[in-house]
């Protein structure tokens, strides 16, 4: 399914049954905006249980140091993700809260990955100049 809003084009692979399962307001949130870079990497790192500092270290390792997330950005996003039910706290030990993606969070992340794939494919096609070569 392709969702076209006035500002964003989102590629959503969500069936009617899936929509029925998810709260409508949550769906609106899912479809509202593409993820920013730190949002994307934080969700990506929370496919496994991690606490704040581990998330920062994982993102730095994953991106070979190209992407660094500061604690201010990290905790602001964790708080919002938790409020939007993209993630949930699985444990708390010595001031360290460990989080994990929820089903909604997985959905959001998968949609973003697909969106990025589409963007990448479009870029490749543009570089290959398929439009000019079609004739």
């Amino acid at each position: 399914m392709i969702y076209i809003s006035s500002r964003y084009i989102l590629y959503l692979d969500v069936s009617k049954d899936d929509i029925a399962k998810v709260d409508i307001s949550e769906m609106r949130k899912i479809m509202s905006k593409p993820l920013t870079q730190p949002m994307y990497y934080i969700l990506l790192s929370l496919r496994e249980e991690r606490h704040g500092y581990e998330i920062m270290q994982y993102v730095e390792w994953l991106t070979n140091g190209h992407v660094k997330i500061g604690p201010g950005t990290l905790y602001s996003l964790l708080s919002r993700f938790e409020e939007n039910k993209y993630i949930h706290m699985v444990s708390q030990d010595n001031n360290k809260k460990t989080y994990l993606l929820t089903e909604i969070g997985k959905e959001v992340l998968n949609n973003e990955i697909k969106r990025l794939e589409h963007l990448l494919n479009d870029a490749k096609r543009s570089v290959d100049d398929e439009f000019q070569n079609r004739n």
């Binding site: 730190p38 997330i69 500061g70 201010g72 950005t73 905790y75 602001s76």
Partner: protein
């Protein structure tokens, strides 16, 4: 050598980069920020001069209406420390971190859009607080201006006068705060949409610094005045005024300890807030000055022999004073004032209110306020009876000693009731509030009721309000003048 330094500065969510730069300068001169009170009072501690980087980071603090807890904040500090930032202090939702200039550390905020979202959330919270504060300030100004213009007590009491200086500053601070925050939000919403950097305010620091400095000086005067009033004037009833502060502080502390760490829903917290308000009204209704009579009764601030007051003892040995009550006051306009009430078994209270105004013109103004108070008192005592007389077409006998006679009533009875009531009130004032030219021989003398047992006297810049005796009786006049040192 002083190890601490205090300065008035200004830190808010729309100007923190300029404060970061200032803190770096201070550190290079050997002063590290230690505490920030109310976003304006900066306390530094002495350190070895060092080149430091400062980062002020918005992070919403725990309140009754947020889901953040102290544990969240501690985790945030720990992670910031892990990446190289030491915590210095905080001011509301802004947290101050520092690191040596040469050391490398991940910036605390790496995404400006996200930083702005946090700032926007905090700014909205601040704006809501200002929108609640403004109507309160308007009410306070209206009440205060009204008091300053008309009220006798506000002339004698320093609180109203000092507060009237504070209110314009509070107004200005509040309005500037709202304008700055709204401008900041509008500009940066656009910037984040366009992918531009956040823009902060780098100017106008001096306006806020000046306003806050002036406010603190006035606030300090208020505290000094309170202490002077309690210690020197022994005005212990004033302590009741601190009761709301003590109750508020205690409840606030309890709330911080017990309620805030509980992650309750917004509904629970709003209900809690409403219940607290209702309780405050109920408790407030039950607590009044009469609950604290012991404070005023325990006062014995005036020895009548040393003050210009009337006592029953000096008028008749058959009717001695059984009880007394007194208080003292001071203000800019009336530097010295006191009142004294003498009680006896046979008669009602005999009251003296003495005021020594700064100038004769202020003393005249005070006399006119007493006259207005007298008229208001007459209106309060008799307006209902006058109205009833015209509605029921029959003269109310309670008016016999008011100054509005049955003859006056008969002259007006055939007029429209509204006009008749207005004219009756004028007659009441004319016959009751009368100027004396023959008996007292002072600069100004006015009787404030028909029975002439209330009188206001002025001798140069001294004003006396007396009540409880027939002040048109020459014998009493002479004795009173002698007691009050008003003999020519």
């Amino acid at each position: 050598m002083m190890n601490f330094k205090i300065e008035i500065n200004y830190l808010n969510i729309d100007n923190y980069p300029i404060v970061e730069a200032h803190l770096e300068d201070m550190a290079s001169n050997g002063w590290l920020i230690h505490k920030i009170f109310a976003g304006t009072i900066f306390i530094y501690k002495r350190i070895e001069a060092e080149e430091l980087d400062f980062s002020i980071s918005p992070y919403e603090i725990e309140t009754a209406f947020t889901r953040k807890t102290k544990v969240d904040l501690e985790e945030f500090h720990t992670v910031s420390k892990n990446v190289g930032w030491d915590y210095a202090t905080k001011s509301y939702d802004l947290h101050v971190y520092f690191k040596p200039k040469e050391s490398k550390a991940v910036p605390i905020h790496t995404d400006e859009e996200e930083e702005f979202k946090t700032l926007e959330f905090i700014a909205k919270k601040y704006l809501r607080a200002q929108y609640i504060l403004l109507p309160f300030l308007i009410f306070l100004s209206w009440w205060n201006i009204g008091s300053i213009i008309n009220n006798i007590h506000s002339m004698k009491n320093g609180y109203t006068q000092i507060a009237s200086l504070l209110i314009p500053f509070a107004f200005l601070i509040s309005i500037i705060h709202i304008i700055d925050l709204k401008k900041f939000l509008k500009k940066n919403r656009k910037n984040t949409e366009n992918g531009d950097h956040l823009e902060f305010r780098y100017s106008n620091q001096w306006i806020n610094k000046a306003l806050y400095s002036a406010s603190y000086i006035i606030f300090l005067s208020l505290i000094v005045y309170s202490l002077y009033s309690i210690v020197s004037l022994k005005n212990t009833t004033l302590l009741i005024g601190f009761l709301p502060v003590v109750i508020g502080f205690s409840l606030g502390t309890l709330s911080r300890i017990i309620i805030k760490p509980i992650r309750k829903g917004l509904g629970f917290k709003v209900t809690g807030f409403i219940v607290t308000l209702i309780l405050a009204f109920i408790i407030g209704g039950r607590i009044n000055i009469s609950n604290f009579n012991f404070l005023s009764q325990s006062q014995d601030v005036i020895d009548p022999d040393n003050y210009k007051v009337l006592t029953y003892d000096s008028f008749s040995s058959e009717n001695p004073e059984t009880k007394k009550r007194s208080s003292k006051n001071a203000s800019f306009l009336i530097p010295s004032s006191y009142d004294y009430t003498s009680f006896s078994k046979k008669e009602g209270p005999l009251r003296t209110e003495y005021s020594k105004a700064l100038t004769e013109s202020l003393a005249r103004n005070l006399v006119s306020r007493y006259i207005q108070k007298g008229k208001n008192s007459l209106r309060g005592n008799y307006s209902l009876e006058i109205e009833q007389s015209f509605i029921e077409k029959s003269y109310n006998s309670h008016l016999a000693n008011s100054g509005f006679t049955e003859e006056d009533y008969n002259r007006l009875r055939n007029e429209k009731s509204h006009d008749a009531i207005d004219k009756a009130e004028e007659i009441l004032f004319k016959n009751s509030v009368t100027k004396d030219d023959d008996l007292w021989h002072l600069d100004e003398t006015y009787f404030l009721n028909y029975e002439k047992d209330e009188v206001v006297l002025r001798n140069e810049n001294e004003v006396f309000y007396l009540s409880g005796l027939d002040f048109s009786d020459p014998a009493i006049v002479n004795e009173t003048k002698a007691q009050l040192n008003l003999d020519e």
